[in-house]
């Protein structure tokens, strides 16, 4: 128990802060107890080491201030760069989506068949029966199916209707 007590004194406060009475108790016990004697010697060495360590001082180099300011500017530039990159990426994405839309519309216009678009059969028929003004005016499939009289009467009828 007494050994424990000595170690508790050694661990409870810095050696340099112990009172003379406490130090006397420690010395007295350390002289009789081998284990506490070793602990006391080690504690003294530890205190010397820590004192030496605390006495070490580091002065800033003459260029330290310049170095810090350069690092600050570099860090600010790094922080600004991602914002510009994000903006550039957003613009790129917008341009890409517009290009994709244009390509899609073009594809639909030229490739996809629609209700008003002729099929292969209709196209073949169209080649064999050329489009004529009469057909358009008279609303018939082909002018060749009407004779001259029929055409004239149809034209007059159409003219009267307009008046």
């Amino acid at each position: 128990m007494r050994e424990q007590h000595i170690k508790a004194i050694l661990e409870g406060a810095p050696l340099a802060s112990l009172s003379e009475a406490e130090l006397e108790t420690v010395r007295e016990h350390a002289a009789r107890c081998a284990d506490c004697g070793r602990a006391f010697r080690a504690a003294r060495v530890a205190a010397e080491l820590l004192r030496a360590r605390a006495a070490e001082e580091f002065e800033p180099s003459p260029f330290f201030q310049t170095r810090v300011l350069a690092a600050l500017r570099a860090r600010r530039a790094e922080e600004e760069a991602p914002a510009l990159r994000r903006l550039w990426r957003a613009a790129g994405a917008l341009a890409a989506s517009m290009a994709a839309t244009v390509a899609l519309l073009a594809g639909l216009t030229f490739l996809a068949p629609g209700p008003g678009v002729v099929t292969d059969d209709a196209a073949a028929a169209a080649t064999s029966e050329p489009y004529s003004a009469e057909a358009a005016l008279l609303g018939v499939a082909s002018a060749e199916e009407m004779d001259y009289e029929q055409v004239l009467s149809a034209l007059y009828a159409s003219g009267e209707g307009n008046e």
């Binding site: 050694l10 810095p14 080690a42 530890a46 360590r53 580091f58 800033p60």
Partner: protein, 189 residues
């Protein structure tokens, strides 16, 4: 504080003046955590960069130096925590100078113990190597309380820990430091 207010608004000359004025203080804090000069300077730079981004949290209630010291302490503490801890230091790892320094301590040779600049450097290096094997919290509390003989209250203010945490941490750290030194002295364990 006027400089802090200006720097918070992005005034670079004001921030440059803060760096110039408080560098010695920040180097002193960083020097408690790191032994190599380059590491101390890197840590100090990190502290100032962090200070610049966190100036908004300085409300001007306490001193600016106190705020910066606390920021420096916690920044360095985190840097040490993220670094890998060194393996245990053994007698066979000691340099010749370190072995001689320990022998002089044990022999009680007052002349040898008292202390040239060179011997002080050997002791500081050895202390750093022993501390490197310990946790960041142990290292900090030993350096501040036992090394620099700061009051528990001061350490609590610097770290943001409670006073009882500082005491408990110091108690355990002293035991770990003593046990590490006992091994170096060949006391077994």
């Amino acid at each position: 504080m006027e400089l802090a207010r200006l720097a918070r608004g992005g005034d670079e000359p004001a921030f440059a003046e803060i760096v110039r004025r408080y560098s010695p203080r920040v180097f002193r804090v960083a020097g408690r955590f790191f032994r190599q000069r380059e590491r101390v300077e890197e840590a100090a730079q990190e502290v100032f960069l962090k200070a610049f981004t966190e100036l908004g949290s300085f409300e001007g209630r306490g001193s600016f130096e106190g705020w910066l010291t606390r920021l420096a302490t916690n920044t360095c503490l985190n840097l040490v925590r993220s670094a890998k801890r060194r393996p245990e230091l053994t007698v066979s790892n000691l340099t010749e100078d370190e072995g001689e320094w320990l022998d002089a301590q044990m022999s009680g040779d007052a002349v040898a113990r008292h202390e040239s600049v060179e011997r002080g450097r050997v002791a500081a290096d050895l202390a750093g190597r022993v501390l490197d094997t310990m946790s960041a919290d142990d290292r900090l509390v030993l350096t501040l309380v036992d090394g620099e003989e700061l009051a528990v209250k001061e350490v609590a203010e610097m770290t943001g820990w409670s006073e009882s945490k500082v005491k408990v941490q110091a108690f355990r750290a002293r035991r770990r430091m003593r046990e590490a030194v006992e091994k170096l002295l060949g006391f077994g364990g």
